[in-house]
């Protein structure tokens, strides 16, 4: 064993650059593998811990305005599948009336409600994941605001309406299992019941959340149908546990998934590198291996001799990777821990990465074993003759037509003959390019306003919502009058929301949320078919199409006001609003059946959106007015910030790997071509010429790899991204590429890095001398 270790030490010393580069590859693979699994472990533990303590509802129906308390109590008593139910009374306060540390929340697009702590379930938790308790005069602030506005315990918050002013001391930061995420459009502040009553006398509007816990294995559809059939209050959004899970998966899981994808890429690159290096190293050792076989050393022992180096490398990489994954994973888990806490299953964050690293190590060691074993299968004579060295590469011809023979021609000719040697570096460059572009394209897609269309919202400058009001019609008319008379408005479209019933695949009648309006002005991207144009056309969201078992061209029977109507399914589109289950059709809803209006509008060119929105808010007091770009930013801010970090790290890692593989490859290439380089120098090529020829070969490979990597990112990358987003109800997505970055700047940087590395990595060419060849 001591002898083996001595041999390994000597080998490390002899091949320092290659061994170091290989070690870095393996370490990075291990870090990302373990890091991704640690983030996953922390996320699962956090969400489990939060859900365990907070006991979120499985079905929530929101409602504004009066309701019949007795009817609700009777309904709860009649449904034997209900575990529990409660009515949360929430005091909705206008954002301009909420002042945190001297600044109002006017620009914030969230709906803000003030609640008292719940009994039995749906608890708001403090930073220790315990049920938060606030005294009179104290307030619990949602972690979303604590993060965004840097609010800490001890700060002051004020609610102000005219002369009335109520001051609160921030007692705790609140974790809310249902509304934590920036993707949830409402936020809850916790105050004492006395304060809630007091504030309600001066400001705000009551909103009710009817919340339910279901018995095991009972579908929320059963409850939803029973609830709507019973005619219980329902002028607000209905949200199910599945939607909460989807929102959480998107908010916290997306980054973990991206890291896992990066780790898979890195592992592939490492294994490619490893295979190449083992083969190249063994080829150099053919003679020694042949001699060992000739004197009767068993194959098993020879394998052990060569395997031990890689086993030691993998073990070192595994240990470093596991340890480095702790700060790495924690960096990317900071958001989920802040929002959801450490959780109840902390073992996951230690065991998951350990299992990952062990599996990775076993995989790499087995791969080494297989390559070495295959190499040793050759006969003693084949090994001693070193057949690898006389492998025919073929030749290229110098031009007959007077094209000048220079470095470019020589480099391309040699590349043509030796292309097989370049497959590995080509693949690694392709993956490296993919590694830069995938997170970049994903990030760009999420950041792009067009992403809204995947959320079921047409791309427009501003959106106006009128919901949950007793005076819907009057408010609608007020908005229409305003829009018709404001010269700054370029165009607008109005949509109405209402419910109809339709049959699912099991033949049960379900409620279907339908939007009625002109779909041509702010069109969505349709997965199949087109927007409803004819009177009997109906478009379904992807999840509804699956649920109802419908395709484009099918007919669908709906019931509205007790009458059956047959519609034709004209299109299927993406939607993640309302749990992804919506429809669009020209149904002439009775005004009493309209649960809300939505307006999309574009402003004339040159009109500042923020100023216009501020002006409109002063006129249309009872409407929710949202600038769409800002909406994307605020909704996806936490996801975007984490994606920015991942993107930065991916670029850094990718460029680092490009440098490493280039250095490693140059070393191997120059060792193999030592003789040819020396000959070229002897016949009159300068060191510079030779370095240029080596550089051209690598640049051509890098250029081809960038094209392949870009194509891969636009195709496979899109499939991977769509796969991730499928978890949140988005069936199909088109990656939106930032062309200047993706097609110009990134390739330029990648090529620049290769040029720099070649300049540094080929400096040893200066010392190559024909004398060394003659000595051999």
């Amino acid at each position: 064993m001591k002898l083996l270790l001595n041999l390994v030490r000597k080998d490390f010393k002899r091949n320092r650059v290659i061994t170091t580069a290989l070690a870095v590859f393996l370490i990075l693979s291990a870090v990302f593998m373990a890091g991704g699994l640690r983030v996953t472990g922390i996320m699962l533990s956090s969400l489990n811990g939060l859900n365990k303590m907070a006991v979120p509802p499985e079905y929530v129906q929101m409602h504004k305005g009066d309701y019949d308390e007795q009817a609700f109590a009777d309904f709860v008593a009649q449904q034997d599948y209900l575990e529990d139910a409660l009515v949360v009374t929430m005091l909705d306060v206008k954002n301009a009336q909420i002042i945190c540390n001297g600044e109002s929340l006017e620009k914030c697009l969230m709906d803000n409600g003030f609640v008292a702590q719940n009994k039995n379930f749906d608890y708001l938790l403090d930073q220790n994941n315990e049920i938060a308790i606030v005294k009179d005069g104290e307030i619990g602030v949602p972690v979303y605001y604590a993060e965004g506005l840097n609010i800490k315990a001890g700060d002051t918050m004020v609610l102000k309406n005219g002369a009335y002013q109520k001051e609160f001391k921030v007692a705790t930061i609140i974790r809310d299992a249902t509304m934590n995420s920036s993707l949830s459009y409402s936020k809850r502040f916790l105050i004492s019941p006395n304060d809630q009553q007091e504030v309600a006398l001066h400001m705000g509007e009551w909103e009710y959340c009817f919340e339910f816990l279901l018995a095991e294995d009972v579908s929320t559809t059963v409850l939803e149908n029973a609830y709507l059939t019973a005619g219980l209050p329902s002028n607000g959004v209905a949200v199910t546990a599945a939607i909460f899970k989807m929102i959480n998966a998107f908010s916290y899981g997306l980054v973990a998934l991206v890291i896992m994808v990066i780790s898979i890429l890195l592992i592939t690159m490492s294994v490619l590198c490893l295979s190449y290096i083992i083969r190249a190293t063994l080829a150099e050792e053919n003679h020694s291996i042949g001699e060992m076989k000739a004197i009767g050393i068993p194959g098993k022992d020879i394998i052990k001799l060569y395997q031990i180096k890689y086993t030691i490398l993998v073990l070192i990489a595994g240990v470093i990777g596991y340890l480095a994954a702790i700060p790495f994973g924690d960096f990317f888990s900071a958001t989920v821990i802040r929002y959801c806490g450490d959780g109840s299953s902390q073992w996951m964050q230690w065991i998951f990465p350990l299992v990952g690293v062990v599996l990775l190590s076993i995989f790499v060691v087995c791969r080494c074993h297989r390559i070495i074993k295959k190499h040793l299968k050759r006969t003693v004579m084949e090994l001693i003759r070193g057949e690898e060295k006389i492998k025919k590469e073929g030749h290229y011809r110098l031009p007959l037509n007077g094209i000048p023979v220079g470095n470019l021609l020589m480099a391309l000719g040699e590349l043509k003959c030796k292309w097989k040697e370049y497959v590995v570096i080509l693949l690694i460059f392709v993956f490296s390019s993919f590694l830069i572009l995938l997170p970049m394209n994903m990030n760009n897609t999420i950041n792009n306003p067009v992403f809204l269309t995947y959320m079921g919202i047409g791309k427009s400058d501003v959106r106006i919502d009128i919901q949950y009001s007793d005076k819907l019609t009057q408010q609608n008319e007020a908005v229409l009058t305003y829009l018709d008379n404001d010269p700054d408005i370029d165009r607008y479209a109005v949509y109405q929301n209402g419910y109809v019933q339709s049959q699912n695949v099991e033949g049960e009648w379900e409620y279907l949320r339908v939007q009625n309006g002109d779909n041509a002005i702010f069109p969505l991207e349709y997965l199949e078919g087109k927007a409803p144009m004819e009177k009997n056309d109906l478009a379904l969201s992807y999840l509804n199409a699956v649920d109802l078992g419908k395709k484009v061209g099918d007919s669908i029977t709906i019931i509205y006001q007790g009458k059956e109507h047959v519609f034709n399914v004209c299109g299927i589109y993406q939607d993640i609003t309302y749990g992804g289950k919506t429809a669009k059709a020209a149904i002439d809803f009775d005004s009493k059946d309209i649960e809300g209006y939505m307006f999309y509008l574009d402003l004339r060119e040159g009109i500042d959106i923020d100023n216009k929105v501020a002006q409109m808010r002063t006129v249309l007091l009872n409407s929710k007015i949202t600038p769409c770009d800002e909406f994307v930013f605020q909704t996806l801010s936490s996801v975007i910030s984490n994606m920015n970090r991942v993107q930065g790290i991916a670029v850094m890692i990718s460029l680092m790997l490009t440098i490493l593989i280039t250095v490693m490859f140059l070393q191997l290439m120059m060792a193999r071509e030592h003789s040819a380089i020396a000959v070229k120098k002897a016949i009159g090529f300068s060191t510079r010429d030779i370095r240029i020829q080596l550089g051209i070969r690598l640049l051509v490979i890098q250029f081809v790899a960038i094209i392949a990597g870009t194509l891969l990112a636009n195709t496979l990358g899109e499939a991977i991204f769509a796969g991730m987003l499928a978890t949140v109800g988005v069936a199909k997505i088109k990656l939106l590429v930032a062309p200047v970055w993706a097609y110009l700047l990134c390739p330029a940087v990648q090529l620049g890095v290769v040029v720099m590395t070649v300049i540094m990595g080929t400096s040893t060419v200066r010392s190559y001398h024909i004398r060394d060849q003659i000595m051999e």
Binding site: K392, A678, I683, I770, I774
Partner: protein
């Protein structure tokens, strides 16, 4: 043509050449002999500018090549010098013919047609017809070494440097190569050759004997007589 003045060459602490001076005139055929490790190859590489010398100077047609940059030296080698090595080093990804014409096309001194014509002529003289399109590993050692000489001659160099050109050849191939060298020299090509083989050195006009990095002895060989015997006797005297 070349003036070598007091050149020294050291590798780390070991002095390989110690204050060596001599001259090479146009049309000379100089053989350098000496025991292994005496510094004869180092002398050839120092004179040709392939190795940097530690002290002294090499004046090639009035130019001090010790002061040239690496790029200038490369260009000098390409246009004014020809090299032949022991192992007939050639580029494996070119055919025999393309290996021969490569320095000519890179130097761009003459039109490609002229270079091709000269290559064909050289190959004919060296009896290499028919192997033009073969790969380097498809021909014999003797053929390869003669092809190396063709390559070295493609730019009509002022001087031909040869380092043990027959070291890896059998007797028949050695004779062929020696015949060619004698012929080239008789046509006016200046030659400097390093060898340990007296049969090769006997073809030269002058022999320098190197020992411990210094010229221990030199001998002008008379042509027309039995120069091999003359050289043999001289070497015996030098060894003694």
């Amino acid at each position: 043509m070349i003036k070598i003045e007091g050149i020294n060459k050291s590798f780390k602490d070991t002095k390989v050449l110690n204050d060596v001076s001599f001259g090479i005139e146009n049309g000379d055929f100089t053989a350098v002999m000496g025991p292994s490790g005496s510094g004869k190859s180092t002398l050839l590489y120092s004179v040709s500018g392939m190795d940097k010398i530690s002290a002294g100077q090499v004046i090639f047609e009035g130019i001090n090549i010790s002061e040239l940059s690496e790029k200038e030296l490369a260009s000098f080698r390409l246009t004014k010098m020809g090299f032949v090595f022991q192992n007939a080093q050639m580029l494996k990804n070119l055919t025999i013919y393309d290996n021969i014409i490569l320095p000519g096309l890179v130097a761009k001194k003459e039109l490609p047609e002229k270079i091709r014509k000269r290559a064909t002529e050289l190959m004919r003289r060296m009896e290499l017809g028919g192997i033009e399109n073969r790969d380097v590993n498809e021909v014999s050692g003797g053929q390869l070494q003669r092809a190396s000489i063709c390559r070295a001659m493609i730019n009509n160099p002022d001087i031909l440097f040869l380092d043990e050109p027959t070291g890896a050849l059998n007797s028949e191939a050695t004779e062929q190569v020696l015949g060619i060298l004698a012929e080239l020299n008789s046509e006016g090509t200046t030659i400097m050759i390093v060898t340990h083989d007296p049969r090769v050195a006997a073809k030269a006009k002058r022999v320098l004997y190197i020992r411990d990095g210094q010229i221990a002895a030199s001998k002008e060989l008379r042509k027309g007589g039995d120069s091999a015997l003359e050289l043999d006797n001289w070497l015996k005297a030098v060894h003694a």
